[in-house]
Amino acid sequence: MLRKCLFIISIALLFASCNSAFRSSHTSVQLSTPVAEYLSQQNLLIHNNQPKLVTRQPKIYAHPYDSSYYLQYRKLTGTSVILEVSDTTGKMRNIAIPQTKLKAFPVALTTTVTPVIAVGFLANRNPHSRYNNWDALALVAIGVLNFSTDALTIPLVYLVNKHQPYAVPRSFSLSDLSTVETVDTFQKEKLYTITAPVNPHVTPYLNAEFQKTFPVFLNASAGYGLVERAFSQSPEPRLGESPWYSFELQIQPSNNFRWGMHHTRNQPTDFQCNTTTLQMAYVYHSLPGSTLSVGLGAGLGSFKRKSAPDLSDTSKLYFNRKLGADSIILIKREFIPNLQYFFPPIAGFIQYENQLTQAVSLTLDFRITRIESHIDYATTQNLKTREVIAPGITSERIQNIGFKQIESYKSKNTLYQFNIGLKIRLNP
């Protein structure tokens, strides 16, 4: 048992650990040519300026492609580190280098494997089955196992790679020679008063302290949805067009990249469908005052049919034998309402966004989603026989044959949605 647990933990460490394990172990500061030439002749040391001092030995290298110089060092924890420059004459200089704490989707078993297994379980769940509770128990057990593994591996990975999330922002560079030139050690104030660097190009994604910020948006939209069914021999009625409503929480970590959690549901008619997808989008800024984003999403959806007509049919065959003229089989399919099915939807979308104010935008989007529809019938068969008992006296007898059976049909559909909505920025 211990060996199995160790195996799972090793796999988690290797393949589904948190991001720190996959990040580069080095970071670098861009230097201008005079600064690079000057620093190459000095003694350099980088430290974290903390009571528990951790130092790094930097080195200067020329980039082979863009002919610029970089000061590279092994990563060190902290939102700013100190570059200590000293020369042979005993002069020194301390320069603050800002560092950004990197953030990303936490790659772990709980955030990758567990949702995939959960979607798989739910998509294969049969609402007629009497064993759904055991499936749910198995799912809970897998969730607990994955969470426990993460609870062990994530702190371990962070402990081993605790410096990895910190990196020097690309927009920061040392270009002015006067900022790095050494000073006499008796100039205590100049030596030990280190000005924190300020980001001259503040963007919505990097603040004045060179720390990452994420604009968060809430997009609410409404529109109309048309459903096209793929070729199917299922007797189920087609899904009609209906109003659809959507909500989306978007996070934009960079200028061209956006991800979000999107939820859409239709106004219940004879069916009720909703999908929740995790989606990523590429944002184009080439249009003046507006943006265009194109993206894909995948997640979990549910479908419930609320009403459908019952069906009836007749047959002259009974266990592959042709019945006589006085007999016929009546087949009755009784619709079973409100059975909930789950499925993994895939969505693609194009969204046009026109900024109305600094925090509010108007959105128009066209979305295509692959959804599933289901229908269930309780089918009964009756044998109907006619008989002449005596002249003028007739009998018509109906008796049920066999057992009541459940017939389930599934169809694949494409949902086309046209939405108009408002997008509000939630954080300042």
Binding site: R130, N133, W134, A136, L137, V140, I389, A390, G392, I393, T394, S395, E396, R397, I398, Q399, N400, I401, G402, F403, K404
Partner: protein, 133 residues
């Protein structure tokens, strides 16, 4: 393993087990609905004797009869519904026989028998028979 974890797991297991169906309770049913429809121009007198047999709870084969007397107006119908003889009174009841006698005040007079046989390989046996005369 620590006691709170053990108790938590036991509670989860008990919760799951208690919510499960452990067996499937089948409903056995043998139900007969007979409808007599009078298409004669006169009122018809009907006597129907329903007879059936099976084993009681002392494992003794017994036979039971019920007799119905009705006057069916012209264009009207009469019904006999037999549905609880299987589950309440007898088991291993496979055959039910309806001996029907129809007479009116004039020349119409007939007797015939209708038999309903339960299929033991299916749990539900529902018969609906409409006799027109």
């Amino acid at each position: 393993m620590k006691t709170p974890y053990k108790l938590g797991l036991i509670a989860l297991l008990l919760l799951t087990i208690s919510s499960c169906d452990w067996w499937f309770k089948e409903d056995y049913r043998f139900k007969i609905l007979q409808i007599l429809q009078n298409n004669q121009s006169n009122r018809v007198y009907n006597k129907t004797v329903v007879s059936y047999g099976g084993y009681n709870y002392n494992s003794v084969y017994v036979r039971d009869t019920q007799t119905f007397y009705r006057n069916i107006q012209s264009g009207d119908t009469a019904q006999i519904l037999m549905e609880n003889m299987y589950t309440v009174n007898l088991y291993a009841l496979d055959t039910v026989q309806f001996d029907i006698e129809l007479t009116d005040s004039q020349q119409f007079n007939t007797k015939f028998t209708r038999t309903y046989i339960r299929n033991p390989y299916q749990t539900l046996n529902d018969f609906v028979e409409t006799i027109r005369f």
